[in-house]
Amino acid sequence: MTTAYVEPAFGGNGEHPAAPSPEGAGEPNYSLTPKVTAQGVPEGDLLEVSMGPQHPSTHGVFRMDVALDGERVVKLKPVFGYLHRNHEKIGENTTYLGSMPYTDRLDYFCSLTNNWAYALAVEKLAGLQVPERAEYIRVITAELTRLQNHTCLGGFLLQDMGASGTPLMYAFRERETILDLFESLTGARMMCNYMRFGGCRCDLPPGWLEEARDAVERFPRFLDEFERLLNENEILMARTQGIGVLPRSLAINASVTGPMVRASGVNYDIRKVDKYGIYDRFDFRVPLGEHGDVYDRYMVRILEMRESVNILQQALRDIPAGPIVDPKVKLRGFRPKAGEAYGRLEAPKGELGFYLISDGSPNPYRYRVRPPSLINLTILEDMCLGHIVADVVVILGSVDIVMGEVDR
Protein backbone atom coordinates (compact mmCIF):
# COMPACT_ATOMS: atom_id res chain seq x y z
CA MET A 1 0.00 0.00 0.00
CA THR A 2 1.65 3.19 -1.13
CA THR A 3 -0.91 5.92 -1.16
CA ALA A 4 -0.11 9.56 -1.79
CA TYR A 5 2.02 10.78 1.05
CA VAL A 6 1.01 13.97 2.81
CA GLU A 7 3.82 16.23 3.94
CA PRO A 8 4.36 15.98 7.66
CA ALA A 9 3.45 18.89 9.83
CA PHE A 10 6.11 17.87 12.30
CA GLY A 11 9.69 16.88 11.94
CA GLY A 12 10.94 13.35 12.14
CA ASN A 13 12.01 13.79 15.76
CA GLY A 14 8.48 14.58 16.81
CA GLU A 15 9.13 18.15 17.95
CA HIS A 16 6.90 21.02 17.11
CA PRO A 17 8.40 22.99 14.21
CA ALA A 18 7.88 26.28 15.94
CA ALA A 19 9.95 25.23 18.91
CA PRO A 20 13.48 26.54 18.71
CA SER A 21 16.06 23.85 18.15
CA PRO A 22 18.64 23.36 20.90
CA GLU A 23 21.39 24.43 18.52
CA GLY A 24 19.62 27.76 18.31
CA ALA A 25 20.00 29.97 15.24
CA GLY A 26 16.24 29.69 14.63
CA GLU A 27 16.75 27.09 11.90
CA PRO A 28 13.75 24.74 11.49
CA ASN A 29 14.95 21.24 12.33
CA TYR A 30 12.66 19.38 9.97
CA SER A 31 13.00 18.67 6.28
CA LEU A 32 10.18 19.12 3.81
CA THR A 33 11.03 15.97 1.81
CA PRO A 34 9.91 12.86 3.65
CA LYS A 35 12.29 9.95 3.93
CA VAL A 36 11.10 7.01 1.85
CA THR A 37 12.38 3.45 2.01
CA ALA A 38 13.37 1.41 -1.04
CA GLN A 39 9.86 -0.05 -1.17
CA GLY A 40 8.36 3.41 -1.32
CA VAL A 41 6.92 3.23 2.16
CA PRO A 42 7.35 6.43 4.15
CA GLU A 43 9.96 5.76 6.75
CA GLY A 44 9.14 6.19 10.37
CA ASP A 45 5.53 6.93 9.65
CA LEU A 46 4.10 3.45 10.02
CA LEU A 47 2.26 3.00 13.25
CA GLU A 48 2.53 -0.47 14.70
CA VAL A 49 -0.50 -1.46 16.73
CA SER A 50 -0.83 -4.63 18.74
CA MET A 51 -4.55 -5.42 18.59
CA GLY A 52 -5.36 -7.85 21.35
CA PRO A 53 -4.97 -10.23 23.05
CA GLN A 54 -7.40 -8.56 25.46
CA HIS A 55 -9.59 -6.80 22.93
CA PRO A 56 -13.37 -7.12 22.84
CA SER A 57 -13.47 -7.64 19.09
CA THR A 58 -10.93 -10.44 18.81
CA HIS A 59 -13.38 -13.10 20.03
CA GLY A 60 -11.03 -14.46 22.65
CA VAL A 61 -7.35 -14.11 23.40
CA PHE A 62 -6.10 -13.44 19.90
CA ARG A 63 -3.57 -10.82 18.83
CA MET A 64 -2.86 -9.13 15.54
CA ASP A 65 0.30 -7.15 14.96
CA VAL A 66 -0.90 -4.46 12.57
CA ALA A 67 1.23 -1.88 10.77
CA LEU A 68 -0.75 1.18 9.78
CA ASP A 69 -0.07 3.93 7.28
CA GLY A 70 -2.49 6.52 8.59
CA GLU A 71 -5.55 4.34 9.05
CA ARG A 72 -4.72 1.93 6.22
CA VAL A 73 -3.44 -1.53 7.02
CA VAL A 74 -0.03 -2.18 5.47
CA LYS A 75 0.85 -5.37 7.28
CA LEU A 76 -1.03 -7.72 9.58
CA LYS A 77 0.40 -10.74 11.34
CA PRO A 78 -1.83 -12.85 13.55
CA VAL A 79 -0.25 -14.10 16.78
CA PHE A 80 -1.58 -17.31 18.31
CA GLY A 81 -1.00 -19.47 21.31
CA TYR A 82 -2.54 -17.63 24.25
CA LEU A 83 -5.01 -20.47 24.77
CA HIS A 84 -2.67 -23.28 23.74
CA ARG A 85 -2.86 -26.33 25.99
CA ASN A 86 -1.54 -28.96 23.58
CA HIS A 87 -4.83 -30.72 23.10
CA GLU A 88 -3.19 -33.22 20.74
CA LYS A 89 -0.63 -34.35 23.32
CA ILE A 90 -3.38 -34.83 25.88
CA GLY A 91 -5.28 -36.85 23.29
CA GLU A 92 -2.26 -39.12 22.83
CA ASN A 93 -2.01 -39.71 26.57
CA THR A 94 -5.61 -40.69 27.17
CA THR A 95 -7.87 -43.42 25.87
CA TYR A 96 -10.01 -43.07 22.78
CA LEU A 97 -13.14 -42.46 24.81
CA GLY A 98 -11.28 -40.17 27.19
CA SER A 99 -10.80 -37.62 24.44
CA MET A 100 -14.51 -37.37 23.71
CA PRO A 101 -15.42 -34.86 26.45
CA TYR A 102 -12.27 -32.94 25.61
CA THR A 103 -13.38 -32.37 22.03
CA ASP A 104 -16.23 -30.27 23.46
CA ARG A 105 -13.64 -27.69 24.45
CA LEU A 106 -12.32 -27.18 20.94
CA ASP A 107 -15.03 -25.05 19.40
CA TYR A 108 -17.10 -24.61 22.52
CA PHE A 109 -20.05 -23.22 20.59
CA CYS A 110 -20.42 -26.41 18.57
CA SER A 111 -19.56 -29.27 20.88
CA LEU A 112 -21.95 -31.68 19.17
CA THR A 113 -20.34 -31.39 15.75
CA ASN A 114 -16.93 -31.77 17.39
CA ASN A 115 -18.16 -34.97 19.05
CA TRP A 116 -19.49 -36.23 15.77
CA ALA A 117 -16.30 -35.48 13.85
CA TYR A 118 -14.23 -37.39 16.40
CA ALA A 119 -16.68 -40.30 16.49
CA LEU A 120 -16.65 -40.36 12.68
CA ALA A 121 -12.86 -40.64 12.57
CA VAL A 122 -12.81 -43.42 15.17
CA GLU A 123 -15.59 -45.27 13.35
CA LYS A 124 -13.51 -45.10 10.16
CA LEU A 125 -10.45 -46.30 12.04
CA ALA A 126 -12.21 -49.27 13.63
CA GLY A 127 -14.83 -49.95 10.95
CA LEU A 128 -17.90 -49.44 13.13
CA GLN A 129 -21.50 -49.14 11.96
CA VAL A 130 -23.99 -46.66 13.38
CA PRO A 131 -27.70 -47.54 13.85
CA GLU A 132 -30.17 -45.57 11.80
CA ARG A 133 -31.84 -43.79 14.70
CA ALA A 134 -28.46 -42.61 15.99
CA GLU A 135 -27.64 -41.22 12.54
CA TYR A 136 -30.87 -39.23 12.61
CA ILE A 137 -30.14 -37.92 16.10
CA ARG A 138 -26.68 -36.90 14.94
CA VAL A 139 -28.06 -34.98 11.99
CA ILE A 140 -30.68 -33.26 14.15
CA THR A 141 -28.18 -32.20 16.82
CA ALA A 142 -25.60 -31.12 14.24
CA GLU A 143 -28.08 -28.95 12.36
CA LEU A 144 -29.35 -27.40 15.60
CA THR A 145 -25.71 -26.64 16.40
CA ARG A 146 -25.31 -24.99 13.01
CA LEU A 147 -28.41 -22.87 13.65
CA GLN A 148 -27.20 -21.56 16.98
CA ASN A 149 -23.64 -21.00 15.73
CA HIS A 150 -24.78 -18.95 12.77
CA THR A 151 -27.30 -16.91 14.77
CA CYS A 152 -24.58 -16.05 17.27
CA LEU A 153 -22.18 -15.16 14.49
CA GLY A 154 -24.78 -12.78 13.06
CA GLY A 155 -25.10 -11.13 16.44
CA PHE A 156 -21.36 -10.92 17.08
CA LEU A 157 -20.68 -9.51 13.63
CA LEU A 158 -23.17 -6.71 14.16
CA GLN A 159 -21.74 -6.12 17.62
CA ASP A 160 -18.30 -5.71 16.00
CA MET A 161 -19.76 -3.06 13.72
CA GLY A 162 -21.03 -1.11 16.68
CA ALA A 163 -24.66 -2.21 16.60
CA SER A 164 -24.39 -2.73 20.29
CA GLY A 165 -26.84 -5.05 21.95
CA THR A 166 -29.99 -5.55 19.93
CA PRO A 167 -28.96 -8.05 17.21
CA LEU A 168 -26.79 -10.01 19.63
CA MET A 169 -29.54 -10.21 22.25
CA TYR A 170 -32.08 -11.28 19.63
CA ALA A 171 -29.63 -13.98 18.53
CA PHE A 172 -28.95 -15.12 22.07
CA ARG A 173 -32.67 -15.34 22.80
CA GLU A 174 -33.00 -17.82 19.93
CA ARG A 175 -29.85 -19.68 20.93
CA GLU A 176 -31.35 -20.15 24.37
CA THR A 177 -34.22 -22.30 23.07
CA ILE A 178 -31.72 -24.54 21.25
CA LEU A 179 -29.44 -24.78 24.29
CA ASP A 180 -32.47 -25.80 26.35
CA LEU A 181 -33.00 -28.65 23.91
CA PHE A 182 -29.34 -29.67 24.29
CA GLU A 183 -29.63 -29.52 28.03
CA SER A 184 -32.64 -31.78 28.22
CA LEU A 185 -31.01 -34.24 25.81
CA THR A 186 -27.39 -34.33 27.01
CA GLY A 187 -27.46 -32.77 30.46
CA ALA A 188 -25.23 -29.87 29.45
CA ARG A 189 -25.85 -26.71 27.51
CA MET A 190 -22.45 -26.33 25.91
CA MET A 191 -20.13 -29.19 26.94
CA CYS A 192 -22.46 -31.89 25.64
CA ASN A 193 -20.16 -34.97 25.42
CA TYR A 194 -22.99 -36.81 23.70
CA MET A 195 -21.70 -38.95 20.80
CA ARG A 196 -20.17 -42.37 21.32
CA PHE A 197 -18.32 -44.63 18.90
CA GLY A 198 -21.02 -46.44 16.99
CA GLY A 199 -23.92 -44.28 18.16
CA CYS A 200 -25.00 -41.81 20.82
CA ARG A 201 -24.87 -41.86 24.59
CA CYS A 202 -28.56 -41.89 25.46
CA ASP A 203 -31.90 -41.89 23.73
CA LEU A 204 -34.13 -38.86 23.32
CA PRO A 205 -36.10 -38.05 26.48
CA PRO A 206 -39.90 -38.25 26.20
CA GLY A 207 -41.42 -35.23 24.55
CA TRP A 208 -38.09 -34.02 23.16
CA LEU A 209 -39.08 -34.49 19.54
CA GLU A 210 -42.21 -32.37 19.97
CA GLU A 211 -40.20 -29.63 21.64
CA ALA A 212 -37.63 -29.75 18.87
CA ARG A 213 -40.35 -29.60 16.22
CA ASP A 214 -41.83 -26.57 17.95
CA ALA A 215 -38.46 -24.81 18.11
CA VAL A 216 -37.72 -25.56 14.46
CA GLU A 217 -41.21 -24.43 13.47
CA ARG A 218 -40.71 -21.11 15.25
CA PHE A 219 -37.20 -20.52 13.93
CA PRO A 220 -38.06 -19.14 10.45
CA ARG A 221 -40.11 -16.41 12.12
CA PHE A 222 -36.99 -15.27 13.96
CA LEU A 223 -35.01 -15.41 10.73
CA ASP A 224 -37.60 -13.24 8.97
CA GLU A 225 -37.36 -10.71 11.76
CA PHE A 226 -33.56 -10.81 11.78
CA GLU A 227 -33.36 -10.35 8.04
CA ARG A 228 -35.93 -7.55 8.01
CA LEU A 229 -33.91 -5.82 10.68
CA LEU A 230 -30.55 -6.19 9.02
CA ASN A 231 -30.33 -7.25 5.40
CA GLU A 232 -30.93 -3.85 3.86
CA ASN A 233 -29.70 -1.90 6.82
CA GLU A 234 -27.67 0.99 5.50
CA ILE A 235 -24.93 0.71 8.09
CA LEU A 236 -24.52 -3.02 7.55
CA MET A 237 -24.29 -2.55 3.79
CA ALA A 238 -21.82 0.32 4.05
CA ARG A 239 -19.60 -1.56 6.45
CA THR A 240 -19.61 -4.94 4.70
CA GLN A 241 -20.10 -4.63 0.94
CA GLY A 242 -16.81 -4.70 -0.92
CA ILE A 243 -14.90 -5.17 2.35
CA GLY A 244 -12.47 -8.04 2.83
CA VAL A 245 -12.93 -9.55 -0.61
CA LEU A 246 -11.56 -13.08 -0.88
CA PRO A 247 -11.02 -14.17 -4.49
CA ARG A 248 -12.17 -17.65 -5.43
CA SER A 249 -8.76 -18.99 -6.51
CA LEU A 250 -7.04 -17.78 -3.35
CA ALA A 251 -9.79 -19.22 -1.18
CA ILE A 252 -9.27 -22.69 -2.67
CA ASN A 253 -5.48 -22.51 -2.59
CA ALA A 254 -5.46 -21.37 1.03
CA SER A 255 -7.65 -24.30 2.17
CA VAL A 256 -10.44 -22.02 3.31
CA THR A 257 -13.57 -24.03 4.10
CA GLY A 258 -17.14 -23.70 5.26
CA PRO A 259 -19.29 -20.61 4.70
CA MET A 260 -16.11 -18.62 3.98
CA VAL A 261 -15.28 -20.54 0.81
CA ARG A 262 -18.90 -20.77 -0.28
CA ALA A 263 -19.23 -16.99 0.01
CA SER A 264 -16.42 -16.80 -2.55
CA GLY A 265 -18.53 -18.87 -4.93
CA VAL A 266 -16.96 -22.30 -4.48
CA ASN A 267 -19.57 -25.03 -4.32
CA TYR A 268 -17.92 -27.20 -1.68
CA ASP A 269 -20.05 -28.54 1.14
CA ILE A 270 -18.78 -31.77 2.70
CA ARG A 271 -22.36 -32.78 3.48
CA LYS A 272 -22.85 -32.97 -0.29
CA VAL A 273 -19.35 -34.13 -1.27
CA ASP A 274 -18.75 -36.95 1.23
CA LYS A 275 -22.41 -37.64 2.08
CA TYR A 276 -21.27 -38.80 5.52
CA GLY A 277 -23.88 -40.15 7.88
CA ILE A 278 -27.23 -40.02 6.10
CA TYR A 279 -26.96 -36.64 4.41
CA ASP A 280 -27.77 -38.20 1.03
CA ARG A 281 -31.37 -38.69 2.24
CA PHE A 282 -32.16 -35.01 2.69
CA ASP A 283 -33.14 -32.49 0.13
CA PHE A 284 -31.26 -29.24 0.66
CA ARG A 285 -29.40 -26.64 -1.35
CA VAL A 286 -25.95 -25.09 -0.87
CA PRO A 287 -26.08 -21.28 -0.85
CA LEU A 288 -23.18 -19.58 -2.65
CA GLY A 289 -21.91 -16.01 -2.61
CA GLU A 290 -20.89 -13.96 -5.62
CA HIS A 291 -18.43 -11.36 -4.43
CA GLY A 292 -16.66 -13.03 -1.53
CA ASP A 293 -16.96 -9.96 0.69
CA VAL A 294 -18.12 -9.72 4.29
CA TYR A 295 -21.73 -9.16 3.24
CA ASP A 296 -21.74 -12.39 1.23
CA ARG A 297 -20.32 -14.28 4.19
CA TYR A 298 -23.11 -12.92 6.35
CA MET A 299 -25.79 -13.72 3.76
CA VAL A 300 -24.48 -17.25 3.08
CA ARG A 301 -24.85 -18.02 6.76
CA ILE A 302 -28.40 -16.64 6.88
CA LEU A 303 -29.36 -18.75 3.86
CA GLU A 304 -27.61 -21.78 5.33
CA MET A 305 -29.80 -21.48 8.39
CA ARG A 306 -32.88 -21.68 6.18
CA GLU A 307 -31.49 -24.88 4.63
CA SER A 308 -30.71 -26.27 8.08
CA VAL A 309 -34.32 -25.67 9.09
CA ASN A 310 -35.27 -27.57 5.95
CA ILE A 311 -33.05 -30.53 6.87
CA LEU A 312 -34.32 -30.49 10.44
CA GLN A 313 -37.95 -30.65 9.35
CA GLN A 314 -37.20 -33.69 7.18
CA ALA A 315 -35.13 -35.41 9.86
CA LEU A 316 -37.67 -34.78 12.64
CA ARG A 317 -40.40 -36.17 10.38
CA ASP A 318 -38.52 -39.33 9.33
CA ILE A 319 -36.68 -40.36 12.50
CA PRO A 320 -37.30 -44.09 13.08
CA ALA A 321 -37.46 -46.06 16.31
CA GLY A 322 -34.65 -48.45 17.17
CA PRO A 323 -31.41 -48.79 19.05
CA ILE A 324 -29.14 -45.75 19.43
CA VAL A 325 -25.81 -47.50 19.78
CA ASP A 326 -24.20 -50.55 18.27
CA PRO A 327 -24.17 -53.00 21.24
CA LYS A 328 -21.09 -54.79 19.94
CA VAL A 329 -18.85 -51.75 20.38
CA LYS A 330 -16.72 -51.91 23.49
CA LEU A 331 -16.47 -48.54 25.15
CA ARG A 332 -14.04 -49.49 27.89
CA GLY A 333 -10.93 -51.27 26.76
CA PHE A 334 -11.53 -50.08 23.22
CA ARG A 335 -8.47 -50.97 21.13
CA PRO A 336 -8.70 -50.49 17.38
CA LYS A 337 -6.26 -52.45 15.23
CA ALA A 338 -3.10 -50.75 14.02
CA GLY A 339 -3.69 -48.37 11.14
CA GLU A 340 -4.77 -44.83 10.47
CA ALA A 341 -7.83 -42.88 9.38
CA TYR A 342 -8.83 -39.32 8.57
CA GLY A 343 -12.46 -38.43 9.17
CA ARG A 344 -13.98 -35.06 8.42
CA LEU A 345 -17.31 -33.32 8.37
CA GLU A 346 -18.90 -29.97 7.68
CA ALA A 347 -18.79 -28.17 11.00
CA PRO A 348 -20.48 -24.75 11.17
CA LYS A 349 -17.09 -23.07 10.80
CA GLY A 350 -15.68 -25.25 8.05
CA GLU A 351 -14.07 -28.63 7.60
CA LEU A 352 -13.39 -30.22 10.96
CA GLY A 353 -11.19 -33.27 10.63
CA PHE A 354 -9.62 -35.77 12.99
CA TYR A 355 -6.56 -37.77 11.96
CA LEU A 356 -5.87 -40.82 14.09
CA ILE A 357 -3.05 -43.34 14.04
CA SER A 358 -3.50 -46.46 16.11
CA ASP A 359 -0.71 -48.81 17.15
CA GLY A 360 -3.10 -51.29 18.73
CA SER A 361 -2.88 -49.85 22.23
CA PRO A 362 -5.77 -48.20 24.16
CA ASN A 363 -4.37 -44.73 23.36
CA PRO A 364 -4.05 -43.28 19.89
CA TYR A 365 -0.43 -43.06 18.71
CA ARG A 366 -1.27 -39.82 16.94
CA TYR A 367 -4.32 -37.67 17.51
CA ARG A 368 -4.62 -34.66 15.28
CA VAL A 369 -7.36 -32.06 15.00
CA ARG A 370 -7.71 -30.16 11.76
CA PRO A 371 -9.13 -26.88 13.06
CA PRO A 372 -11.17 -24.89 10.50
CA SER A 373 -10.86 -21.63 12.44
CA LEU A 374 -7.06 -21.62 12.41
CA ILE A 375 -6.75 -22.47 8.73
CA ASN A 376 -9.39 -19.94 7.71
CA LEU A 377 -7.16 -17.28 9.29
CA THR A 378 -4.34 -18.01 6.80
CA ILE A 379 -5.65 -15.33 4.45
CA LEU A 380 -6.62 -12.78 7.10
CA GLU A 381 -3.76 -10.50 6.06
CA ASP A 382 -4.65 -10.73 2.36
CA MET A 383 -8.24 -9.72 3.12
CA CYS A 384 -7.28 -6.81 5.35
CA LEU A 385 -4.54 -5.13 3.30
CA GLY A 386 -5.59 -1.69 2.13
CA HIS A 387 -8.62 -1.47 4.38
CA ILE A 388 -8.87 0.81 7.39
CA VAL A 389 -8.26 -0.56 10.84
CA ALA A 390 -11.96 -0.46 11.78
CA ASP A 391 -12.65 -2.88 8.93
CA VAL A 392 -10.13 -5.36 10.32
CA VAL A 393 -12.51 -5.95 13.19
CA VAL A 394 -15.40 -6.63 10.82
CA ILE A 395 -13.34 -8.89 8.55
CA LEU A 396 -12.11 -10.90 11.52
CA GLY A 397 -15.68 -11.19 12.76
CA SER A 398 -16.80 -12.57 9.42
CA VAL A 399 -14.17 -15.34 9.54
CA ASP A 400 -15.95 -16.75 12.60
CA ILE A 401 -13.20 -17.99 14.89
CA VAL A 402 -13.25 -19.56 18.33
CA MET A 403 -9.95 -19.50 20.15
CA GLY A 404 -10.51 -22.85 21.83
CA GLU A 405 -10.16 -24.36 18.40
CA VAL A 406 -7.53 -22.02 16.94
CA ASP A 407 -5.00 -22.55 19.72
CA ARG A 408 -6.08 -26.00 20.93
Binding site: F80, G81, K337, G339, Y355, R370
Partner: protein, 212 residues
Protein backbone atom coordinates in the same frame (compact mmCIF):
# COMPACT_ATOMS: atom_id res chain seq x y z
CA UNK B 1 -14.04 -41.16 -9.71
CA UNK B 2 -10.55 -40.85 -8.40
CA UNK B 3 -8.07 -43.30 -9.86
CA UNK B 4 -6.27 -45.70 -7.54
CA UNK B 5 -3.03 -44.79 -5.87
CA UNK B 6 -1.16 -47.39 -7.97
CA UNK B 7 -2.29 -45.63 -11.14
CA UNK B 8 -1.30 -42.24 -9.75
CA UNK B 9 2.09 -43.65 -8.79
CA UNK B 10 2.78 -45.07 -12.24
CA UNK B 11 1.72 -41.83 -13.94
CA UNK B 12 3.89 -39.92 -11.51
CA UNK B 13 6.90 -42.06 -12.34
CA UNK B 14 6.48 -41.46 -16.04
CA UNK B 15 5.90 -37.71 -15.61
CA UNK B 16 8.78 -37.05 -13.21
CA UNK B 17 11.82 -39.17 -14.08
CA UNK B 18 13.76 -40.44 -11.10
CA UNK B 19 11.04 -39.86 -8.53
CA UNK B 20 11.12 -42.19 -5.55
CA UNK B 21 7.54 -43.09 -4.67
CA UNK B 22 6.36 -45.85 -2.43
CA UNK B 23 2.87 -46.88 -1.36
CA UNK B 24 2.41 -47.18 2.40
CA UNK B 25 -0.20 -49.76 3.33
CA UNK B 26 -2.90 -49.16 5.92
CA UNK B 27 -4.44 -52.14 7.67
CA UNK B 28 -7.33 -50.19 9.25
CA UNK B 29 -10.82 -50.60 7.75
CA UNK B 30 -10.60 -47.05 6.41
CA UNK B 31 -8.04 -48.41 3.89
CA UNK B 32 -6.64 -44.93 3.32
CA UNK B 33 -3.32 -45.85 1.73
CA UNK B 34 -0.73 -43.15 1.29
CA UNK B 35 2.13 -42.26 -1.02
CA UNK B 36 5.62 -41.72 0.35
CA UNK B 37 7.68 -39.41 -1.83
CA UNK B 38 11.37 -38.60 -1.67
CA UNK B 39 12.28 -35.10 -0.55
CA UNK B 40 14.21 -34.14 -3.66
CA UNK B 41 11.17 -34.48 -5.93
CA UNK B 42 8.46 -33.52 -3.42
CA UNK B 43 7.81 -30.07 -4.85
CA UNK B 44 7.57 -31.42 -8.39
CA UNK B 45 5.20 -34.15 -7.21
CA UNK B 46 3.03 -31.59 -5.43
CA UNK B 47 2.84 -29.43 -8.55
CA UNK B 48 1.95 -32.48 -10.63
CA UNK B 49 -0.84 -33.51 -8.25
CA UNK B 50 -2.25 -29.99 -8.20
CA UNK B 51 -2.08 -29.28 -11.92
CA UNK B 52 -2.81 -32.67 -13.48
CA UNK B 53 -6.13 -32.58 -15.37
CA UNK B 54 -7.50 -35.82 -13.97
CA UNK B 55 -6.43 -35.16 -10.38
CA UNK B 56 -6.64 -31.39 -9.77
CA UNK B 57 -5.84 -31.78 -6.08
CA UNK B 58 -6.17 -28.06 -5.46
CA UNK B 59 -7.00 -28.27 -1.76
CA UNK B 60 -4.52 -29.34 0.92
CA UNK B 61 -6.96 -30.07 3.70
CA UNK B 62 -4.87 -31.41 6.53
CA UNK B 63 -1.13 -31.06 7.05
CA UNK B 64 0.37 -32.65 10.09
CA UNK B 65 3.40 -34.47 11.44
CA UNK B 66 4.06 -37.77 13.17
CA UNK B 67 7.02 -38.69 15.34
CA UNK B 68 8.31 -42.23 14.88
CA UNK B 69 10.85 -43.35 17.46
CA UNK B 70 13.57 -45.93 16.90
CA UNK B 71 11.88 -49.28 16.88
CA UNK B 72 12.87 -52.90 17.01
CA UNK B 73 10.73 -55.52 15.30
CA UNK B 74 11.34 -59.18 15.94
CA UNK B 75 10.70 -61.75 13.27
CA UNK B 76 10.79 -65.46 13.97
CA UNK B 77 11.27 -67.81 11.08
CA UNK B 78 10.89 -71.56 11.50
CA UNK B 79 13.22 -73.61 9.35
CA UNK B 80 13.77 -77.34 9.13
CA UNK B 81 17.30 -78.56 9.29
CA UNK B 82 19.01 -81.89 9.40
CA UNK B 83 20.93 -82.16 12.64
CA UNK B 84 22.78 -85.43 13.25
CA UNK B 85 20.65 -87.10 10.66
CA UNK B 86 17.39 -86.10 12.38
CA UNK B 87 15.14 -83.46 10.92
CA UNK B 88 14.40 -80.79 13.47
CA UNK B 89 12.59 -77.49 13.46
CA UNK B 90 14.71 -74.55 14.41
CA UNK B 91 13.42 -71.08 15.27
CA UNK B 92 15.51 -68.21 14.13
CA UNK B 93 14.81 -64.76 15.49
CA UNK B 94 16.06 -61.76 13.57
CA UNK B 95 15.88 -58.30 15.01
CA UNK B 96 15.28 -55.41 12.72
CA UNK B 97 16.05 -51.95 14.01
CA UNK B 98 14.49 -49.02 12.27
CA UNK B 99 15.99 -45.63 12.98
CA UNK B 100 13.45 -43.04 14.04
CA UNK B 101 12.29 -40.25 11.79
CA UNK B 102 9.74 -37.49 11.58
CA UNK B 103 7.02 -37.68 9.01
CA UNK B 104 4.81 -35.01 7.42
CA UNK B 105 1.38 -36.07 6.18
CA UNK B 106 -0.68 -34.12 3.65
CA UNK B 107 -4.35 -34.95 3.04
CA UNK B 108 -5.19 -33.65 -0.41
CA UNK B 109 -8.64 -33.18 -1.90
CA UNK B 110 -9.99 -31.58 -5.02
CA UNK B 111 -12.54 -28.80 -4.63
CA UNK B 112 -13.01 -28.63 -8.38
CA UNK B 113 -13.57 -32.33 -9.08
CA UNK B 114 -14.81 -33.11 -5.54
CA UNK B 115 -12.74 -36.20 -4.86
CA UNK B 116 -10.09 -37.31 -2.44
CA UNK B 117 -8.27 -37.91 -0.27
CA UNK B 118 -4.85 -38.60 -1.72
CA UNK B 119 -2.42 -38.85 1.16
CA UNK B 120 1.13 -37.70 0.65
CA UNK B 121 3.95 -38.38 3.09
CA UNK B 122 7.42 -36.90 3.42
CA UNK B 123 10.06 -38.18 5.81
CA UNK B 124 13.12 -36.63 7.41
CA UNK B 125 16.40 -38.54 7.54
CA UNK B 126 16.45 -38.77 11.33
CA UNK B 127 15.07 -37.09 14.42
CA UNK B 128 18.15 -35.21 15.57
CA UNK B 129 20.15 -33.22 13.06
CA UNK B 130 18.70 -33.86 9.61
CA UNK B 131 15.10 -32.80 10.10
CA UNK B 132 14.59 -30.95 6.84
CA UNK B 133 11.80 -31.48 4.33
CA UNK B 134 10.80 -29.20 1.46
CA UNK B 135 7.88 -26.90 2.19
CA UNK B 136 4.79 -27.33 0.02
CA UNK B 137 3.41 -23.91 0.97
CA UNK B 138 4.47 -22.50 -2.44
CA UNK B 139 2.06 -24.99 -4.00
CA UNK B 140 -0.74 -24.90 -1.40
CA UNK B 141 -1.01 -21.74 0.61
CA UNK B 142 -3.25 -23.56 3.09
CA UNK B 143 -0.21 -25.43 4.38
CA UNK B 144 1.36 -22.22 5.70
CA UNK B 145 0.09 -22.26 9.29
CA UNK B 146 -0.03 -26.02 9.51
CA UNK B 147 3.62 -26.38 8.49
CA UNK B 148 4.49 -23.70 11.00
CA UNK B 149 2.69 -25.77 13.60
CA UNK B 150 4.64 -28.90 12.61
CA UNK B 151 7.85 -26.89 12.93
CA UNK B 152 6.77 -25.53 16.28
CA UNK B 153 5.66 -28.76 17.90
CA UNK B 154 7.89 -31.32 16.14
CA UNK B 155 10.94 -29.38 15.02
CA UNK B 156 10.63 -30.23 11.34
CA UNK B 157 12.34 -27.55 9.25
CA UNK B 158 10.46 -26.75 6.05
CA UNK B 159 12.90 -25.48 3.41
CA UNK B 160 11.33 -22.79 1.29
CA UNK B 161 8.60 -21.81 3.75
CA UNK B 162 7.98 -18.05 3.49
CA UNK B 163 7.56 -17.40 7.21
CA UNK B 164 8.80 -20.27 9.35
CA UNK B 165 8.35 -19.16 12.96
CA UNK B 166 6.89 -20.72 16.06
CA UNK B 167 3.12 -20.39 16.02
CA UNK B 168 1.64 -21.75 19.25
CA UNK B 169 4.62 -21.79 21.61
CA UNK B 170 6.50 -18.57 22.25
CA UNK B 171 9.68 -17.44 20.54
CA UNK B 172 12.74 -18.65 22.37
CA UNK B 173 11.11 -21.86 23.55
CA UNK B 174 13.71 -24.58 23.14
CA UNK B 175 11.86 -27.90 23.00
CA UNK B 176 9.37 -29.52 20.67
CA UNK B 177 6.45 -30.60 22.88
CA UNK B 178 4.73 -33.04 20.54
CA UNK B 179 7.79 -35.29 20.24
CA UNK B 180 7.33 -38.65 21.88
CA UNK B 181 10.44 -38.26 24.05
CA UNK B 182 9.60 -34.75 25.25
CA UNK B 183 10.13 -34.26 28.97
CA UNK B 184 7.92 -31.76 30.71
CA UNK B 185 9.72 -28.92 32.46
CA UNK B 186 10.19 -29.14 36.22
CA UNK B 187 7.27 -26.93 37.25
CA UNK B 188 6.97 -28.10 40.85
CA UNK B 189 5.11 -25.78 43.17
CA UNK B 190 4.66 -26.17 46.89
CA UNK B 191 1.28 -27.62 47.80
CA UNK B 192 0.01 -27.72 51.37
CA UNK B 193 -1.74 -31.08 50.93
CA UNK B 194 0.53 -33.05 48.63
CA UNK B 195 -0.67 -36.26 47.07
CA UNK B 196 1.47 -39.04 45.56
CA UNK B 197 2.17 -37.38 42.26
CA UNK B 198 3.18 -34.11 43.89
CA UNK B 199 5.41 -35.87 46.42
CA UNK B 200 7.18 -37.60 43.56
CA UNK B 201 7.57 -34.32 41.73
CA UNK B 202 8.94 -32.69 44.85
CA UNK B 203 11.54 -35.44 45.25
CA UNK B 204 12.65 -34.92 41.69
CA UNK B 205 12.63 -31.16 42.10
CA UNK B 206 14.72 -30.97 45.27
CA UNK B 207 17.04 -33.83 44.39
CA UNK B 208 18.00 -36.69 46.69
CA UNK B 209 20.00 -34.72 49.29
CA UNK B 210 17.16 -32.48 50.32
CA UNK B 211 14.83 -35.40 50.69
CA UNK B 212 15.17 -35.80 54.48
Amino acid sequence: MLESLEQIKSRLESAIPGVGAEIIANSAPSAQVSLLVDNRHALAVAKFLRDDRALRLDYASNVTAVDWLDSVTKETVKTKKLIDGVEREIEQTTEKTRAGFLEVVYHLYSMELKHGPVILRLRTVNRSDQTHVPSLTPVWRGAEFQEREAYDLYGIVFDGHPDLRRILMWDGYADFPMRKDYVEPDDYEYEPTPHDEVVEKAARHYGTEAKE
